[in-house]
Each structure stands twice: as C-alpha cells, then as structure tokens.
Symmetry: C2
C-alpha cells in the first residue's frame, strides 16, 4: 500500500492464479463468460496479492478518463451561494458509485481552451457547465465538436444542447399564487438579472400569474441575484412604493439582503409585507424570519445532469434532450 511497495500488475495476478492476463482482465471487468471455478481462483489471487488495476493504463486503451469537469462561474455572486454545494452533492451521488472523478473548475480567462484541451488529451470525458454567462462561446464550441456537454439551464442562445432546468415560469407563478392567497393586494417583485433566462422566466411566470389573479402590471425592480443588489432593490422599492404589502424576490440571497432593509424601515415581515424568495438555499433558513421560498430540486437536477452527461459519454451522438423539473413552494414564516 505504500508508495514504494512494488506494484501488483495483472501479470502478477495471472501468475499467482495460474491463468492468462486476459482471463484476469475478464474477471476484473466482470465479463460473464468466465468459468466459475476459475473466476474464484482469480478472485482469491486478486485479494491475496492486493491487486488494484492501474487506471492510467486502462485509460490509455479504453480512451476513457473516467473523469468529468464541473465548470462553475467564478464571479463573486456565487460566493456564499449554497446552490453550488448542492450541485456538487447531487452530481457526486451519481458519479461516486461509478468511480468517475469530479474535476472542479472555476471559470477564468482560459477555461475554454483548458477544457477543450483536457477533453482532447483524454483527461476528461465530458463537461457540465453551470450558469454560463450570456455570451459564453464554450457551449457552442463543445457542441460543434460533438463533445459530451450538459448545461444547468436553458441556453441563452437557442443551440442544440442538452440541458436540465427547473420550470422557472411555474416557480414565479407559485410565488404569485401564494401572495394572492395570503391576501396581498399591492404586490411587487425584485427580479434577477434580466439578461439571463432564469431572471426573465421567473419574472414572466410571476407577472402572468398575477395578471390572471387580477393584478396586472406589478411593479418590478431589477437586481442581479446578489445580496447587495437585493438590499439596494428593496431600498428603492420601499421608497418609491411605500404601500407594497407583498414581494416576490427572485433569489433567497437577494431576500437575505432585503429583509434588514425592511426592518430598518419599520416594516414587519410578514405582517406588513409578505416576502417570498426563490431557491430554498440555506440562506432561506438563516433569514429572520425564515423565508417562504420556491424550491428547486437542485440535488435531483444535478444528478440528472450527471446522468445525461454520462449517456453522451457512453454513446456518441446521443440525441439532445432537455429535462425540466417542477419547483415547489416551501412555506415558512415570511409569507
């Protein structure tokens, strides 16, 4: 087990078991056409020698790295967003049992070339791209090169690419319905970045559902998903529209920034203003009061991304597919 101990190879195991290298390889890889007695002999030899296959050698011939990359935006906004931890956890549940490594990359100047090079050099089998920015050329590049890739949300440009998303529109509607059911009459919303699909769709879903409930043209203030932008947007909202009694904030993180602003303005939550967030991140729990929020099944979605990616790795030219998960409302004390 030490680094210096002579390494056990297939050859060695074969010698101990008195069979050929090929047969040991079959046993190791679970090929069924091996005689039961021989299989047992080999397995005994494997455990007495403490054999473990050298994966570099295997990778050389199978052309599989058994590793995929998870590319995360390195922007500050993600610092403190548990979203990414949940992604990692979800992806891991699928990868771990298969022995596939999860290689983490934060986007930087050269992430694109880096990823492409790794793919070509056989160090990576595929890529999961999380929250790519609007003009990121990487998704298109990967698709064009027919490399296995999955996106964490609907791409901004309509390119043929597999992605997993939550039904953002339905999420917005969920928030609207809850606020209406609570009896809020002057409802507003703090949106996410409107240059991105999630920001757009949450707003659209919310606005349409409000309109259907007889409150068309709700007030909206744009944020950018960060805590600070949530605070700033709320400041503006409460100043310009002091009479709002319910607000849908397109991310928990922004809500976390917004709540102290309400308190400072002497507004009680939920009695004066009801607040509904989005994400059900841990931020929702650390809010005071705990946040009623729209939950995305992030772990499940991440696991699905991993599965979709592995399908592509397994078989080239797997048809493009999109999987949409349904959000749900988690009712706590803020609304």
């Amino acid at each position: 087990m030490s680094r210096h101990q002579k390494r056990v190879t297939l050859e060695e195991v074969a010698r101990v078991a008195g069979v050929s290298r090929a047969t040991v390889s079959r046993v190791v890889n679970g090929v069924t056409s091996v005689d039961e007695n021989i299989r047992q002999t080999v397995e005994r030899a494997i455990s007495t020698t403490g054999y473990l296959p050298n994966l570099a050698a295997r990778a050389l011939v199978t052309r599989r790295a058994d590793a995929i990359a998870l590319v995360l935006p390195s922007e500050n906004r993600i610092v403190g967003d548990p979203f990414f931890t949940r992604i990692v956890r979800g992806v891991s549940t699928v990868l771990r049992p298969l022995g596939v490594h999860l290689v983490l990359m934060m986007t930087g100047a050269d992430t694109g070339e880096q990823v492409i090079a790794d793919l070509r050099q056989g160090r990576l089998d595929g890529v999961i791209l999380v929250h790519t920015y609007q003009a990121d050329p990487l998704p298109g590049l990967l698709v064009r090169n027919r490399q296995p890739v999955v996106l964490s949300a609907r791409p901004a440009e309509p390119i043929p690419i597999t992605y997993v998303d939550v039904n953002q529109t339905a999420g917005g509607a969920l928030a609207a319905e809850h606020l209406v059911a609570r009896g809020c009459r002057r409802v507003a919303t703090i949106t996410g970045s409107l240059d991105r699909p999630p920001g757009q769709d949450r707003l659209a879903g919310f606005r349409d559902a409000m309109a259907e409930s007889g409150q068309p043209g709700v007030v909206s203030v744009e944020g950018d998903f960060t805590r600070e932008s949530g605070a700033a947007a709320m400041e503006r909202l409460i100043t310009e529209h002091p009479d709002v009694d319910g607000v849908f904030i397109a991310s928990d993180l922004m809500a976390e920034g917004a709540l102290p602003v309400l308190r400072r303005h002497g507004r009680a939550v939920p009695d004066d203003i009801a607040v509904v967030g989005f994400d059900d991140s841990s931020a929702a729990l650390s809010c005071d009061p705990p946040l009623t929020t729209v939950r995305q099944p992030v772990e499940d979605m991440a696991a699905e991304m991993a599965r979709q990616l592995l399908r592509q790795v397994e078989q080239v030219d797997t048809p493009v597919r999109s999987v949409i998960f349904e959000p749900s409302l988690v009712v706590r004390q803020s609304a």
Copy 2:
C-alpha cells in the same frame, strides 16, 4: 478537434518533422539539449498537425496523475459557507497554471477507501483534507502509507503531518482587544466545541488577552459551532448574566443564531452588547447588523496547502511542516 478525428500522436509529428519520436518528446517536454533548428522544425510540425500529448499515456510511464483531491466534509455546516468556495479558489490558483486537476470529494461512508484506492491506482497524486472530524482515521492512514497529504488545520491527535492553519490564539486575542478598546467592561464568550483544537485555542487566546487587559476569568458558555447552539448559548448567557456588554462568539454561524436571541431580549447590538464573530464567512454579512469578525486568509492558506502538497508529490519523504497564518479583524457594525 472532433471526437472522431484521427488522433495526432508523437509518431505522426516525428514523421512530419523528419525526426524521431524521442526528439519530439524532448521538445514537448522542454529538454534543452535539442538543436535550435530542429526544435523549430518540430515546433512547426506540432502546430501544423495540432498535436496534443495524450496524458493517459504519459501518466502510464511517469506515474503521475497530475490530479489531486480536495476532500470536504459533507456536513450541513459547510453548505452555504463561502469558506468552501474560497478554498477552491485558493487551491486553483496554484494548480491551474501547472495543469493539475482538482478533484472534489465530499466525505461519505467510503471516502477513505476511495481516496486510498485512487492514490494506489495512480489516479491521484495527493490529498488535501479539509476539516476532518475528530476521530477520522484517514490522516493517520495516509501518513502511515507515506502518501502526500496536507491538513487544513492542526490535527487533533499529534501525528506527524503537514498542515496549514490560522493562528487561532491570536484570533481570540484580536477579538478581546477590540472589545476592550470599545470600552466593554463585562465581557463573555460563546466558545466552539472544546474537544477540538480551534475551539480550545480561540478560547485560550481570548481569555488570556482579556486577563492581560485586566479582566481575568471571563464568563464562557460552550457551543458546538452550529447556529442552534449559538442561539441556545446566548439564551443561557443573557439569562444568567444579564449585564454583559460584549461577547466574543467563536464562529459567525453561532453568532447568526445568537443575534435574534439578543433582539428578542430587547438588547441592541452593538449599543447594549457588542458582538465579535470568527471566520468572516458569508454568515457575517447576512447578520443584522453585519458582524465584526476575525478573518482568516483562506485563499492564501488554501494556496499554501496546494504548494505544500505538490512539494510532497515532487519529492517523497519531504519533511513534515506546518504553516501558520495570521488572522485579522474585520470591523463592521456589531462591535
């Protein structure tokens, strides 16, 4: 570049350049003893063919995976803690330029075997262990097997292992000095788990510094680093010692739990009671008011961990070493 394009090998480049495989290999690996003219010919051949070395093949002979693992606790307390993101970022800054992959693992039932297997199978060159739990056998196991490993904090058991830590004692002292300078006269502390080095050291540093400032025997209540324990400890503290005017809470997360308790008891922060946290996690920012806290230079520490690990990979039996970073005080509104 496509997955199906015939791959360019050293052989191919050698043919194009009219030299041997060995010479191309020399050029690729920057061996200096190559004639300048030949080097240029080869480099031209490399770029016209679009050659990229197959890293699996290289790994097979060099016995280097060019990948290291970052093992993170999967406990909930890390979810939402930007600490994690900062670690990744710091480690990446060192790894990225060297082309070393960062493989992420969340601790689970079989993490230990997994890591050891990966190390033995040549998929991993070394491991960075972040926040191992008290009785984790993994550090000892790795050390015994002389595998490259670095810990993110002083190990609970005194085993010969390289680690990077912050000067916890100095951090506690920093908090004490700030409270004293603010004019607090009846100071207390909510500690972390006292069975762990950070909990012990922060308390010791705080207590000693208070004593030096003329306030020996400060009141302390033990927590366990969780938000809930922070709330419970504060409840006890405020009940048993209603006259405290300053408190050092050994983690931001506990402080986050404690602040609403103070509010409920009608205490204004910082006017009635000044509060200093520890970590400068995002929790510190989401507190109301934002938390004055002791900051660890996490990115720098993470980068140092990566460097220490690579040293060990580079050269077996590198002497064990510990690197201690100095904390700093981030003053916000709570104290």
